[in-house]
Symmetry: C2
Subunit: 341 residues, 2 copies
């Protein structure tokens, strides 16, 4: 049988309370006593039953997810994943609260972080927007021991404990390789469509893409990037405009949201050979595009994985436990029509 606190107490000749003090590193135990207990722990190979400890403590993990009130499919999906986690969490002594903030609003995010910090909770997951105000709060909360996890969009160089998201530079490079290999010998240029270059993710994707094309496929030219503001109508307008002015668009790399607009325009067709199209995030729209053959590949980050990973990291952080880095790495999924989940 696995040893319990009783075995340790007996072996060390002390009471349960003392074993508990040593186990939890609480003060008020004389060094020799502490050593006897520690000796017993390692002699018997004791490992504490965390479930039992949590039961006794009435421990409830309190986490807050700060999510942008953004209406694109990806963010809606992310939110749904958090909501699903809330269901599950109820049975597992973890309580999750969702706090909404306007999208891309750093002041609002800073305020929300501040507020969440007031609530004396164990940890916060949030979609980062980079600014001095946000960095200040993060610094202060980290100092106070709150576990902070960035979700989808990182705040590199800050004291957040972990980033649950993908490497967007690598994602851009991946898109570049796929695009250029799919284009093969075909001539023509590539049109990059961003959501907003104010956001780190999009900047990274563009950088990864442009650099990789320049380095590995130097003959392939890129058109100037356009910003669709994650808005289908705007994306459609920009794309129509671009296609009217240029006959030589052979590829489109859309790395923001608003792909409904993209598909609308693509479906208008124009007699010419269809461009190679690569977009980000698997949504109902991009899935349809893939199945219908208008989209050639979708790069994806799995919102479910991100949320569950963030929760594991938050919990491990709250317990002061280590975590398997390999298990928490979020993959850059490549989906073709054939390997759609």
């Amino acid at each position: 049988m696995k040893p319990t606190v009783h075995d340790i107490a007996a072996h060390a000749g002390v009471s349960l309370a003392t074993v508990d003090r040593v186990l939890n590193g609480r003060a008020g135990v004389r060094a020799p006593t502490r050593e006897r207990v520690e000796a017993a722990i390692s002699a018997l190979g004791f490992v504490r039953d965390v479930a039992a400890a949590n039961l006794a403590k009435g421990r409830i993990y309190r986490f807050t997810f700060i999510l942008p009130a953004n209406d694109n499919s990806f963010m809606i999906g992310l939110r749904r994943q958090v909501e699903e986690a809330i269901q599950w969490a109820g049975r597992e002594r973890v309580s999750i609260r969702i706090v909404d903030v306007p999208a891309f609003d750093d002041a609002a995010l800073a305020a929300a972080l501040e507020q969440a910090g007031e609530d004396a909770i164990d940890g916060i997951a949030f979609v980062a927007v980079d600014s001095g105000a946000v960095r200040d709060v993060v610094e202060r909360l980290a100092e106070r021991g709150t576990i902070l996890v960035t979700l989808v969009s990182d705040l590199a160089g800050s004291r957040r404990h972990h980033f649950a998201g993908i490497d967007n530079i690598a994602a851009g490079q991946t898109a570049a390789t796929l695009m250029c290999r799919f284009l093969g010998a075909r001539s023509g240029k590539i049109l990059p469509i961003a959501g907003s270059l104010q956001v780190q993710d999009h900047r990274d994707r563009l950088k990864g893409f442009s650099d990789h094309v320049a380095r590995s496929y130097p003959c392939r030219a890129l058109l100037p990037v356009v910003e669709g503001a994650d808005n289908p109508e705007r994306v459609a307008a920009l794309l129509r405009e671009a296609l009217r002015h240029r006959e030589d668009i052979a590829g489109i790399y859309s790395f923001g949201a608003g792909n409904r607009g993209l598909l609308t325009v693509l479906e208008e067709g124009r007699g010419q050979e269809a461009p190679v199209v690569i977009v980000h995030e698997l949504t109902e729209i991009s899935r349809q595009g893939l199945l219908g053959g208008r989209i050639d590949a979708v790069l994806n980050q799995d919102a479910g994985h991100e949320v569950r990973s963030a929760l594991r990291v938050l919990k491990a952080g709250a317990d002061g436990a280590a975590l398997l880095a390999a298990q928490e790495r979020i993959r850059i999924d490549i989906f073709l029509k054939e390997n759609l989940p």
Copy 2:
């Protein structure tokens, strides 16, 4: 506060023991009493604390993983994942045993299943080999309530509860699309290299690949498949032979193990344009091949995901709980040099 069994007992005017009987569906409760308890449960919105229940019961989940004693990197990795899970399992009241069987030996597998079944355990995960004997044992164990999960290789049409693995037909189709798109206008044929066509996985991959090429890229010809027996030396010999006899090999799809042999031959170079190479399973070898540019894409199933998913399914099955199908679907990963984890 969340209601506990005490609240239910008080509300229904019965003792804890009776609440427990109803909660666990045990016999010996008069219908009216049972109904009072059930009313209390739904009135208070009670959900049982599984951790506390397991503590009280001293419940330990007992699972057995039956793994082929196969020395290829993928199987070694799979085994390592199970071993890692064993570490974690100790703290979570689950006990996992690994049982080895010779690879591709259905009689041995049937015997191992039989034996594991004797041990009165909760569930078994196993890499299936298809045969009547295996199907018989599976049928019998399922009948007796043992939870059975196939791992990596399925036993379709049997009474196993779940398959933790990928859709290999879809994997073959995915390889076909990537191969033909990467080849583009380049002429030449594709050489398929199997491990063994005795195994369902490999047959499925070949079928998915061949059918998809025939359907979507009808001008592209396939050479007859060769079987490398998952053995690097044999793969190397077969490939050298093929390259000597044919000058027109433009693509290689290797969907078994033994890719060390493949890389050795590719590195010999031969002045001609290098073929497009797609292989299965991300291992140290295939990673090197990808980074070195000899391999163009790796299709992968994540052994860690498969093992952890199998465990979740086994546990849920043992608890009679439902599971999120979406969360348990194993992805067909596509790795290029750029999105390598």
